[in-house]
């Protein structure tokens, strides 16, 4: 399922997910797609055109969207609601928590434009708290795929589950890591490169950066590190962490999310709970509101690009 021959091929998680949803809607008339005045941004135009009776645009009213979705789900419909992750998880935070997760409504929240992927838009549009916010909601599932094929596969999987879940997607095309045979499993991480001593555990867009760092370190004869993709933050693949602790003594987590509350916090909690005795270094947004900037420039400033990861590995080796 790991792509070995097309690593330079770029695809949009948003387009791949929308295409998958459109495909699923052809045979499942209980699926309803919603958005809050972001049809184009969330790549939903085709769905709107093909299935107008099962597409609801509520206007700029994210709280309303969440609760209406919960009401529809209460009547047996399967909901996929789309908006920027920052608005889904902060503006409509309480609706997600109370109407979706507390009520157990079958609503899948597709948080788009996550992390700093809106670039020049700035911190009002960055979503660097979403993992932490949703992770803290009881009975929540938090998914953060690393490329387009895995994002589509998770959408396909979520259409079959009956519990609410949150999936965060990048705005911009990402290099394919997997091929279309990717099998999405909630709560399972993947070792993409085997090394020893240092394991870089990444999620979302930062998995590509971690792979680039590992490749560069190999080329220059640096330390052999392991690279792990953790597409599910909650539930976390603790079995994999335990396995990694057998021959690694340093974990470096990388995420396009604040260093508090996200993947790093989840891994740290797991290390402590299981007594793994591994040193943890968390890379992410360093508890600040990043300025608007071109995406890659921002990732570089924040130390979550390949160079930042590489530098951290060299410091900790």
């Amino acid at each position: 399922m790991q792509n070995t021959g097309k690593t330079n091929t770029m695809h949009s998680q948003l387009e791949a997910s929308a295409l998958m949803l459109e495909h699923l809607m052809e045979t499942d008339d209980s699926i309803i797609v919603m958005t809050a005045d972001l049809v184009g941004s969330c790549k939903l135009s085709k769905i709107e055109q093909r299935f107008p009776e099962r597409f609801i645009n509520v206007g700029i009213a994210e709280q309303n969207m969440m609760s209406i979705a919960a009401g529809l789900a209460h009547e047996g419909m399967k909901l996929f609601v789309h908006t920027f992750s920052v608005f889904a998880t902060l503006r409509a935070c309480e609706q997600m928590r109370t109407d979706l997760f507390y009520n157990g409504a079958n609503v899948k929240v597709v948080g788009t434009h996550c992390g700093v992927s809106t670039g020049p838009a700035g911190s009002t549009h960055f979503s660097v708290e979403d993992i932490g916010v949703v992770r803290a909601m009881p009975k929540s599932t938090v998914i953060s795929p690393s490329d387009a094929p895995s994002a589509a596969a998770f959408i396909q999987l979520l259409a079959k589950t009956t519990e609410p879940a949150f999936i965060r997607l990048d705005r911009n095309p990402l290099p394919d890591i997997y091929d279309e045979g990717y099998e999405a499993v909630i709560g399972k991480g993947h070792i993409l490169a085997h090394g020893k001593n240092i394991a870089v555990i990444a999620t979302g867009s930062t998995v590509t950066a971690a792979l680039e760092a590992q490749k560069h370190l190999n080329e220059k004869g640096g330390p052999k590190i392991s690279i792990v993709d953790m597409p599910t933050i909650k539930p976390l693949d603790k079995t994999l962490l335990k396995q990694l602790a057998d021959d690694h003594n340093v974990f470096i987590t990388v995420e396009e999310h604040n260093v508090y509350g996200g993947l790093g916090s989840a891994v740290g909690q797991a290390i402590a709970e299981m007594g793994l005795g591994v040193r943890l270094h968390c890379l992410g947004i360093p508890d600040c509101y990043p300025s608007g900037n071109p995406v890659e420039y921002n990732r570089s400033l924040l130390g979550i690009d390949s160079l930042g990861i590489e530098a951290t590995v060299m410091k900790l080796q």
Binding site: R54, L72, E94, D99
Partner: protein, 263 residues
């Protein structure tokens, strides 16, 4: 036995006095609305709470769960005696309704401003699936300060939800006293009208009048409807408490609480 409305009030009194307190004010102000809906208007089956053709009711002002519990108990969803366990350790009847534990509670509510969009989703699903159930949503007048109420109102109009009925408990008093001292929500009927609702005002304690109004709406099915039910907060409490902010939440000993009820 008494009338349905008397039984519901008795149930509220029983629960408040046995448990040492509760949101009596807002519960008593909607007791007669629920008597009309559960006693005369709504299609429902206490033996099969999730009967697919039932009418749905969302109590958006979830803090008035006491009234809903009493209406459900009186209707046969669970024994009336269970009302005495209200708020006690391990009981399923707590301040705000929980659909996971309590039969007849359509969805869990308690945080204000959530109920109408939930009801909009339920009504829209009925429309999509060509089911003819009605969806009723009871809002507090103070709750109408929540922006999400009006987001949902816009959506109800946009989706032309003909079988959605919003009932606003217009008792005029919130947690902090008279609503009009805090915020001006009038002209409330015009507000709903301007959001595309067919609006009627009614005495929220006149069960016969409400029966007639709700049944007319069911025959017509040209909603969304908004019913502004003029009520007295704490209706049935003694004169010094009824209609005042003091009725919002009662607490005390069983004897002292009994003395606060005028029936």
């Amino acid at each position: 036995m008494g009338t349905k409305q008397e039984q519901i009030r008795d149930g509220i009194k029983m629960a408040v006095c046995a448990s040492g307190g509760g949101h009596a004010g807002g519960s008593l102000s909607i007791a007669d609305i629920l008597a009309s809906l559960y006693g005369h208007v709504m299609k429902h089956n206490p033996q099969v709470p999730d009967w697919k053709d039932r009418d749905r009711l969302i109590l958006s002002k979830g803090h008035s769960g006491l009234a809903l519990y009493s209406a459900l108990a009186v209707s046969g969803y669970f024994p009336i005696e269970e009302l005495k366990k209200f708020g006690s350790a391990g009981a399923r009847l707590m301040n705000h309704p929980d659909s996971h534990t309590t039969p007849g509670v359509e969805m869990s509510t308690g945080s204000l401003g959530h109920g109408l969009p939930l009801a909009v989703g339920i009504a829209f699903a009925g429309q999509l699936k060509k089911q003819d159930y009605f969806t009723y949503c009871i809002l507090g007048d103070g709750e109408c300060c929540e922006g999400s109420v009006w987001e949902a109102a816009m959506a109800a109009d946009a989706q032309q939800l003909k079988r959605l009925v919003v009932v606003v408990d217009r008792n005029g008093i919130g947690n902090d006293g008279h609503l009009e001292n805090i915020v001006q929500i009038e002209p409330l009927a015009d507000k709903w009208r301007s959001f595309g609702f067919a609006v009627e005002e009614v005495n929220g304690h006149d069960v016969q009048a409400m029966n007639a109004l709700f049944m007319h709406q069911r025959e017509e099915a040209q909603g969304p409807y908004a019913v502004i039910a003029h009520t007295v907060k704490g209706k049935g409490l003694i004169e010094t408490i009824a209609g005042t902010g003091s009725s919002h939440y009662l607490s005390g000993t069983q004897d002292s609480l009994k003395q606060k009820f005028d029936f």
